[in-house]
Symmetry: C2
Subunit: 174 residues, 2 copies
DNA sequence: GTCATTTAGTTTGGTGTCAAACTATAAGCT
DNA sequence: AGCTTATAGTTTGACACCAAACTAAATGAC
């Protein structure tokens, strides 16, 4: 049974079955959450940071109505004209099947053009349209603001090393 | 049109419309993918690293048949007996609605017990059952192996700073 | 040439997630 | 007390993702 009551301000309680003290609004009170080993483990903190950065980017890029995932896709197409969907999905770290609806949408909206290769009718060639380039430019501006925020948080000095470690994890974990 | 052909070994080509050279198996060849600004931006690398670590953890924890998400949940309940679902979802960085099916499953499988609070019939109290504690112990062993891998990659020296930066991003990004 | 194998992309099915609407309890106000 | 507002958790609908099965095209072996 949970014996502890809200508003209980006693410091010691007969709390034999694991109740938690709470503030008057029910939020944690007196007992901050104990993260145990999660507090210093890389995996958990990686997830929390990624989630937070993702949310922040979403808020930023909302003004131009593009999701964060689309940004990497457009950038990669812009930087690698004629890239195939498989190459793209690999570079982007997503399964190729996830890319199908994304590319379809980008094509439908006139940001990307998709052609079959001359000599391999299975493969697509992806390229940005002029409209796609324009959208990418404005997204990039937006992303730069976001990155500047992160820079300020991390500090110019540590950033390089930080990114190097991230890359190492992405590349070398087995 | 995509003019470039497979097996084309010319170094210069009349490649006006953005084709890409390919190897005989269609994989990128000669032209490694250009990541543009993504190469050094924090957000993108954060995502790639997180994804890779997640996959690695999944492979590791497969042997005991628990998904990575469940691990943090069980740890947090174990470390905070009587925690409520809202506190838990907050600490775990997930929406409370995502927690409903997870907790249901853990209860159904006898790993977690869930009781209403005495004095607030809305709130649940979560606690590990003995079986839950046992599973958590074996998951923790498994996660420690995973963490040791990451440690080796990052190096004991940089790890502390690395985690500090991750925490900072999670906490302070606006 | 024919057949087996490989490859590029799509389809399908299942999972995990969020956000918004909802239910029930609780707290605050008069 | 009665009414309003806030809170804990669930439900629902949408979406992103993956993995496996699938289709069409290309390659390789014979």
């Amino acid at each position: 049974m949970c014996r502890f009551r809200k508003r209980d301000t006693r410091v010691h309680g007969t709390n034999g079955t694991g109740g938690r003290r709470r503030g008057k609004n029910g939020e944690a009170f007196g007992l901050p959450v104990n993260f145990g080993p999660l507090a210093y483990w890389v995996g958990f903190n990686l997830r929390m940071a990624q989630e937070a950065a993702f949310q922040a980017f979403s808020r930023h890029s909302q003004e131009i109505g593009e999701s964060p995932g689309r940004f990497a896709t457009l950038t990669l197409i812009g930087r690698n004209p004629g890239i195939s969907q498989t190459e793209l999905s690999l570079a982007n770290g997503r399964d190729k099947s996830s890319l199908t609806p994304v590319v379809e949408d980008l094509v439908r909206r006139g940001l990307v053009e998709r052609k079959r290769m001359d000599n391999d009718r299975r493969t697509y060639c992806l390229n940005l349209t002029p409209a796609g380039k324009k959208v990418l430019t404005s997204m990039t501006r937006c992303a730069r603001r976001h990155e500047r925020n992160l820079d300020q948080l991390i500090g110019e000095r540590d950033r390089k090393k930080f990114v190097r470690i991230l890359k190492k994890i992405a590349a070398e974990i087995e």
